[in-house]
């Protein structure tokens, strides 16, 4: 079996590594699944469960996170930009993708003002058609930076605890 992709998701504020999500998204895209289709959550959960354990109690949270990620994927795929894995560099000797430091945006609290998009020097954020902001490329986020959070008046942006970074700073590479 070919090696499956591995991707980190923030599920209810907790990082969860999932296998095979990129392959699932690609298949759904080729099958014509639209990001807002009512059957999409079911397809995503069923697909993810083939390679990963999804607790029943967290079904809704997984579904929300996967829907948002598929929305990003869908737009990127439509734009024609390459989907090949990019090199995000390293932080303290660890591959950037292994460090779960990135913002999460609360859809309920986001007022679409775009201050985070304006302040971020790395194009981490983009706007949905609805005007709400979402994280389009989490691993572009500068490890340790939280300026988007400080600029967000409705307090819609969450960042991980800074202490978490010590795990990576002092861990063996």
């Amino acid at each position: 079996m070919d090696k499956l992709s591995y991707q980190l998701f923030m599920i209810d504020g907790v990082p969860a590594g999932l296998l095979g999500v990129s392959e699932l998204f690609e298949q759904l895209f080729l099958d014509g699944a639209l990001p807002h289709a009512p059957e999409l959550p079911g397809l995503l959960i069923a697909g993810v469960r083939k390679q990963n354990y999804v607790p029943k109690t967290a079904l809704e949270s997984f579904s929300e996170a996967l829907k948002l990620e598929y929305l990003r994927f869908y737009h990127q795929r439509l734009s024609g930009k390459p989907l090949t894995p990019r090199d995000y560099g390293q932080w303290e000797g660890h591959p950037r993708e292994q460090i779960p430091w990135f913002p999460t945006v609360s859809r309920e609290l986001c007022n679409g003002c775009g201050a985070c998009i304006e302040i971020c020097p790395k194009q981490v954020f983009a706007k949905e058609d609805s005007g709400k902001v979402f994280v389009v490329d989490p691993f572009l986020c500068i490890v340790g930076c939280c300026f988007c959070k400080s600029a967000c008046e409705p307090k819609a942006i969450l960042m991980p605890k800074q202490d978490m970074l010590n795990t990576y700073r002092f861990a063996k590479k």
């Binding site: 304006e118 971020c120 340790g144 959070k149």
Partner: protein, 142 residues
């Protein structure tokens, strides 16, 4: 202290020094690393000073400032749970240290906009504005 003989360097000169230090760094990642290093180099703040009275309100990270003005000259102690805010605080400490009260009233964070760290004007950032407001507010108690 930023003493230059018996004189404190003008605010604008220290701001220019900081800007020039950052101009020498070519990439954004280097600039942020430098900012974090500045924060890490801050002297530890006494735990007894990390009370509510020194907590900067309006900053979404935890940030404590303790301004001490004795014999007309001020010094600032700072600590934060955010590497980034700590780095900015370190720059403020550099600006404040050894300076008379009347000059501290003129301190703002406009020079940060020249560091090439972010695109948005610092004055439009409520968190950064809260930092400056807290500093100026503390002067009223001195």
């Amino acid at each position: 202290m930023n003493d230059y003989g018996n004189q404190t360097l003008p605010l604008s000169l220290i701001e220019t020094q900081i800007v020039q230090e950052f101009e020498q760094l070519s990439s954004l990642d280097e600039k942020y690393s430098r900012l974090f290093e500045l924060g890490e180099a801050l002297p530890p703040m006494e735990a007894s000073l990390k009370g509510d009275e020194n907590l900067v309100k309006g900053c979404q990270s935890s940030l404590w400032f303790h301004l001490d003005c004795t014999d007309g000259r001020c010094s600032l102690q700072a600590d934060s749970d955010s590497m980034l805010i700590k780095g900015i605080s370190a720059m403020l400490v550099r600006l404040v240290d050894g300076r008379p009260i009347e000059e501290i009233r003129q301190i703002n964070l406009d020079f940060l906009d020249k560091l090439g760290l972010w695109k948005m004007a610092s004055r439009a950032n409520p968190g950064l504005e809260a930092i400056v407001e807290h500093l100026h507010h503390n002067l009223q108690d001195t």
